[in-house]
Symmetry: C2
Subunit: 226 residues, 2 copies
Amino acid sequence: MDQIRIIELKETLLADNDADAARLREELREQKTFYLNVMSSPGSGKTSCILRLVEQLRDAFRIGVLEADIDGDVDTRTMLQAGVPAVQLHTGGMCHLDADMSRQSLREIGSEALDLVILENVGNLVCPAEFDTGAVKNLVILSVPEGDDKPLKYPLMFEKADVVLVNKIDAMEVFDFDLEAFRGYVQKRHAGCPVIPVSAETGEGFAEAANWLKQQIEAWKGEVTA
Amino acid sequence: MDQIRIIELKETLLADNDADAARLREELREQKTFYLNVMSSPGSGKTSCILRLVEQLRDAFRIGVLEADIDGDVDTRTMLQAGVPAVQLHTGGMCHLDADMSRQSLREIGSEALDLVILENVGNLVCPAEFDTGAVKNLVILSVPEGDDKPLKYPLMFEKADVVLVNKIDAMEVFDFDLEAFRGYVQKRHAGCPVIPVSAETGEGFAEAANWLKQQIEAWKGEVTA
């Protein structure tokens, strides 16, 4: 296994994170790198969903993964064991990443040589949604055991989502989760946002999820019209 | 059902939240009210665990519940339907509660006439741990589907925990959760912290959890020695 690289991120407190994020997106567009921000609660299955997406897309794209955590290196170990280039980011207790923290991390992973960089943000359904990371798109995961009412309680996360994966659908029978109600709550926060049921355990749904992502990447790289 | 009261909390940005929290605890000690801060990720089962605890303790104590959310009133509806006095707190987008927000809320629920006030904090395994709410004890819930590695990634939450409930143990067979490993990770963050497996679905484990809480309340009220 490759050695684990841990990057201790520095907080910069830029006056205008939104402007910095917009600048970062421009830089990424020039170098034709697609940057995907994956957000969810702790334990929704971000790492295993990312692995499933990488599995589907690794033949078509050069991919790297940024694993953000307050502490630990569990997820980076998982990625490296699967042969996926990954860097562990430590946020120094911070509950989110901003554009400048993204820029430090993209430099460390060598984004200019990659088509797709996936950021696994800190597990948190609140704060990460408040900070534009400079990502091209935001992918939000909600897992079945968390319950279908989450868009009612965490509005901003679902407003910012460009796509929502409902993970752990293999456990649907054990939990009381109303998928149609959930779809309705998501639409209330972000009309038109696709909701894709998946199971990182069985692989179900990832052809569709990867297809969504593939279309976004191709549009970004200018290979098709967005 | 009682009418739902929604309190829009104001942020005060006190210079010294720790000092304010210590003051609040002194006030609560004088009025013999025990204030319990319940924290977890979104969807770990805070509301249903609180209902199970209230079920066990409502004959012995006068109890009120504070439901903190960024938006919505789902949990307060649930509490009121179960006949539990409850007030909905809206944090105005904030990811946590501090001592002054607690004080506003305790006033609204009329804490001086209650033995036990339970705060259901915002679902978030990061930020709520950073702010002393003035609570006497912190109860942290981690649910089986979230995975056993969470104390590695969210250290502060488990350092601040006075007790940890492992919820959804009825779903243990569906998920790969190592309870002994989890106990070890918790001990690493807070040596001696009790870890109690429970199921809000079946009620399993709540006699023990309620007994822990009862002892804490009695010690606080000076009825037994802490």
